[in-house]
């Protein structure tokens, strides 16, 4: 049962015929782990907390730096030097004190990833590096958790819902990280401030769809956003029957 306060707070969402009070209660019981509290994570966390996802976990080992502030809207100048996961937790709780938030200000190793992911229903890939992305993908495949993938660079980004149903995992689409030095470096290539907001917000929508069983999540489809042209394009993707990570599962 929603409390009177919850019914008021989430009224516009409960008014959606496909959501209703039952859907809102489901969200309040849901647990989402957001890995990476940077530009993508700022948008995902804010919207999931606001929408009433009852338990959120935030993994990030970094501290806030001045160069983060043009896109990582959870933070301000006063937060520079503080651990992102902790500051993000506070900020998200101030946006919605009615949800629980756990902070994991640590590097995600294999055993930590398994232990932490096991406590959540769904995982958001808002990371900025390939090793963590491959690790998360493998853990999500093994534990059967949907992985809402997002990535940004310069003016573009991509979103897909991976490790879900008959859809592919990250490895089906990107079997190996680019060779050392060939990977695009955001510190060199740059990133337009609002781009992770666009992509992270779409990730948040996909999370809510998966949790609520709404519409058609981006499973088997990779959404590409090109900010310069303003285009959204969808690439059909599918599971690789020979994928070393998810085949034979």
């Amino acid at each position: 049962m929603l409390t009177a306060e919850q019914a008021e707070r989430y009224a516009r969402q409960v008014a959606l015929r496909e959501v209703g009070a039952a859907g809102q209660e489901r969200l309040l019981r849901s647990r989402v782990l957001v890995v990476g509290a940077g530009g993508l994570g700022s948008a995902v966390l804010s919207y999931l907390a606001a929408a009433g996802v009852g338990t959120l976990g935030i993994v990030d080992r970094d501290r806030v730096e001045p160069s983060n502030l043009h896109r990582q809207i959870l933070y301000g100048p006063a937060d520079v030097g503080l651990p992102k996961a902790e500051v993000a937790r506070r900020r998200v709780l101030s946006q919605n004190p009615g949800v629980s938030v756990a902070a994991y200000p640590e590097a995600l190793g294999a055993s930590a990833a398994r232990r932490i992911v096991a406590g959540y229903d769904l995982v958001v890939d808002a990371t900025d590096n390939f090793p963590t992305r491959y690790l998360l993908n493998e853990v999500c495949v093994r534990l059967g958790r949907p992985l809402v993938h997002g990535a940004v660079l310069r003016y573009s980004g991509q979103v897909s819902v991976l490790c879900q149903g008959q859809g592919p995992c990250y490895c089906c689409l990107f079997p190996a990280p680019p060779p050392e030095g060939a990977a695009p470096d955001p510190g060199v290539e740059g990133i337009l401030g609002a781009t992770p907001g666009v992509v992270g917000t779409i990730q948040a929508v996909e999370c809510l769809k998966v949790l609520l069983g709404l519409g058609t999540p981006l499973v088997g489809r990779l959404l590409l956003y090109d900010g310069l042209s303003g285009d959204f394009q969808v690439v059909p993707v599918r599971r690789d029957p020979r994928c070393p990570v998810c085949s034979g599962e």
Partner: protein
């Protein structure tokens, strides 16, 4: 054989002129591979472009067959390097968060 190549986002910039967004049919000799296609399109072997054949990741050695649908798009997502601040050893001093009390306890 002919394969249909579509380029997404800014991948088309690296390709010869053509309506890559709609898709361009490329004629290749029988037995051609993705590597041959990349060479035909002028994509450097090191170019960080993702190539999917019928929706699945392809390697340069992946064989192509008539009617295959090939998607080419830029690799997005960071190969993160330490920021300049960190490289220069000017990491901002670590600070501790003062104690915090939540406005209300979350519902169980």
């Amino acid at each position: 054989m002919r394969v249909l190549v579509k380029a997404y986002a800014q991948a088309a910039e690296a390709l010869p002129a053509g309506d890559w967004q709609q898709g361009v049919e490329v004629e290749l000799p029988a037995g051609a591979t993705v590597g041959d296609l990349r060479a035909r399109l002028g994509l450097r072997p090191q170019a960080v472009q993702v190539v999917l054949v019928n929706g699945v990741a392809a390697r340069p050695s992946t064989p192509l067959k008539d009617g295959d649908r090939v998607a080419v798009f830029p690799l997005v997502g960071g190969g993160r390097a330490p920021s300049r601040t960190l490289q220069a050893g000017r990491r901002p001093p670590a600070r501790r968060l003062p104690p915090y009390r939540m406005a209300s306890t979350p519902p169980r």
